[in-house]
Symmetry: C2
Subunit: 431 residues, 2 copies
């Protein structure tokens, strides 16, 4: 079988042999950072103490809060002048999560991404339309560099503007698109409504990720766009996209185990779950130089799919993401924590105690609506005053979470009162 | 003097010797495209007929309309599988201008861009915050690859979100920013209003371009941000940024004449203007492989600055852009032709005959307002109907010109009637 690089088809023995060597190596590298120097010393971990791959479980887990506490560069193992790229999560009130990359790290990331794309049949002859945001979000530049590595004609189309996307797709005979699932549905419906037959497009592959989605969504995208759609998994803490990717079997996503160690654990006990059981995905970078991360708790719930894949690759497969072990929301590919919304709302003196975040779906696109109670003395009759407040809240939320929510100002006590734990998030997307 | 590459300090003789060799070469390459094969044959041009650099004037000029007429790929000299990148101007109603790049073209572009940045003191140790849009606009990825070539820590911050930009700038001690001039003014004012002293920032260099601006604007940016600000000139037809750039003398922009031939001509006669006179800049790519462009009429008005630069470089300098030889507008770094706006407006049956494009400046940021007359039978009393129409016009204009205009619906005959030629564009930014 044609392969992008040799590690793609390593046997289990080759994978695991490399994993142990690389694990010792990356632990040694990680100890150069202030954070891991202390953390690993306290746990009695040094490279030579790792005798087998099972010893990875002796390493303490790293959490998002650890990353935040080390902001801006406490996990870096090399001086800043060795770093050539930075990506970051959204957020200005708390500390965002920041990832630093050396040139080697970028090269490896591009190689892994190219391997993913090559695996599903993307080749140098393809025209690749990258329909996602660039910038600090890793999805855009991640796929961009992967496509460049393959030598595709890369069109950095960016997000939105359906008319223009469709014109580009037609006129340049795009064969491969990277697109988030909710926008793919919207785009497909717009195509259908325009009366154009998707079969007339040259598009044959959609790479979809950055948002959890169901098998039904994938099928619908495949029908609407007349393509094969492949699920992509990644997170900025592990570079970005290029962590796990479906092969043409479409039966789970192969985790590139030459570059990462993946574990699935019980989120409460942190013990490994039984083969095939659902748990929290915990990931270790095996090759990252500038900012290694050991046993990162992704909070993503999934399972290993038992057995060998028909494609012949021996990198284990994870199932599509089945949920979250925390309250993080993913809207339009952007990660949002309810706490971010709360911090912004509470910074307005006009805002009362109660608020609600409602997830909605309109015309296939996910939206976020924030209903917020306004204190009695500020809920005035002059609509201009309220409209101004609404605008200020909207803008500040948008600056924080990077998408524009709809904001409803509600009279004091206008929202349902919680008896016990307040239900801050209401998901009305499926209703 | 420290230099990025040898050609940066070539003597006039070295530059001109290389130019003639490269001109012959690029003419030969251009002839592989359907467009230039015909055009050059008709003009009796072949590489061997070019005896001296003055012979460049025998080559017919290429216009934006030529590029549009050759949409999508009539200027390509190589099969599509050799192309690895595409950039395009805005626009969906007419044909956008499209540029294709081979990997060599991208490498050369990154080298030129890195040379520009290096010239003003950007080094590997710098932290570079790229505060411009990525995607099809060449400004974002252009500077991004230049900074990567230099090995800077590149932060792909993208446009907007002042709070976040400022947080990144503080927390990562950004030393160099790429920022469009109008946003630099806005950002600087926001910084001042926040009570923070710009001297406390690590920022020392602002690279400003993509919008014509005055010396006063530069000085103001330098004061507000406590930086040196350097003017950058480029256009996607000549790769993007990296065509001409100020050195630390800040006395005009050196055109990289090892990579381009620059002429300044009378826009009516196309004859060269006298030394130091203002005329239209005409540019030829000397090294581009995938899509060479010969004698491109940029429509930008400028002049060669006479004499040698104190920096010791012999690449001639052009003055800051002094105007346009056509009606193109540049708002927020985006190129807009009034005709694009007209085409969209006229596609609405409700729209009458008269409209006006008003350029405004609010809080240092340029805005575009479109006033449009609505036919009497559609100017109904139901505000919801009008608001819906306003929204549809706004969205369609935004999809076309890529920035969101303000749209005022005006009663029939509500706009001033023109006696002769209608004044479609009103620039009220300075008033």
């Amino acid at each position: 079988m044609e392969c992008f690089d040799r590690a793609e088809f390593w046997s289990r023995e080759e994978i695991e042999r490399a994993q142990l060597v690389r694990l010792r190596n990356v632990v040694g590298q990680a100890m150069r950072s202030p954070f891991y120097a202390k953390r690993l010393k306290e746990a009695g971990i040094a490279p030579e103490t790792l005798k087998s791959l099972d010893d990875v479980r002796r390493i303490p887990c790293t959490t998002k809060d650890d990353l935040r506490s080390q902001y801006p560069d406490g996990l870096n193992t090399l001086p800043q002048c060795e770093m050539v790229r930075m990506h970051a999560s959204s957020g200005t009130t708390g500390s965002p999560t920041v990832i630093h990359y050396t040139q080697n790290d970028l090269n490896l990331w591009a190689d892994l991404m190219a391997r993913c794309m090559h695996m599903v049949g993307v080749r140098r002859e393809d025209v690749f339309q990258n329909i996602t945001g660039y910038g600090l979000f890793t999805g855009g530049l991640g796929l961009h560099y992967g496509a460049e590595r393959l030598g595709c004609l890369t069109i950095p189309a960016g997000p939105g503007n359906t008319t223009r996307q469709l014109k580009i797709m037609r006129d340049f005979r795009t064969t491969v698109a990277h697109i988030i699932p909710s926008y793919a549905l919207y785009f497909g419906a717009a195509l259908r409504d325009s009366g154009e037959d998707a079969k007339n497009l040259a598009l044959r592959i959609a790479l979809i990720g950055a948002e959890p989605h169901t098998e039904e969504t994938r099928k619908r995208i495949e029908e609407l766009l007349d393509v094969k759609a492949y699920n992509s998994y990644g997170l900025s803490e592990m570079n970005g996209p290029g962590v796990a990717f479906e092969c043409v079997q479409q039966a789970g996503m192969h985790v590139w185990e030459d570059a990462f160690i993946a574990e699935i654990v019980d989120p409460d006990t942190l013990e490994p779950v039984a083969e095939g059981e659902v748990g929290e995905l915990v990931m270790t970078t095996l090759c990252r130089q500038g900012m290694p991360i050991l046993r990162y708790r992704t909070k993503d719930l999934t399972r290993f799919i038992p057995g060998e894949c028909a494609c012949g690759r021996h990198h284990r497969r994870i199932d599509r993401i089945l949920g979250r072990a925390d309250d993080m929301l993913i809207i339009k590919g952007v990660n949002i924590y309810p706490m971010q919304v709360e911090q912004i709302l509470m910074s307005f003196p006009e805002v009362g105690e109660n608020y609600q975040i409602v997830l909605e779906r309109e015309n296939y696109l996910d939206q976020i609506r924030v209903k917020v109670e306004i204190k009695e003395e500020h809920f005035v009759e002059d609509m201009r005053v309220l409209r101004d407040l609404q605008k200020r809240i909207t803008n500040k939320l948008r600056d924080e979470v990077l998408i524009t929510p709809r904001v409803d100002l509600v009279q004091n006590n206008g929202l349902p009162k919680a008896e016990g734990k307040a239900q801050r998030v209401v998901d009305s997307r499926e209703s």
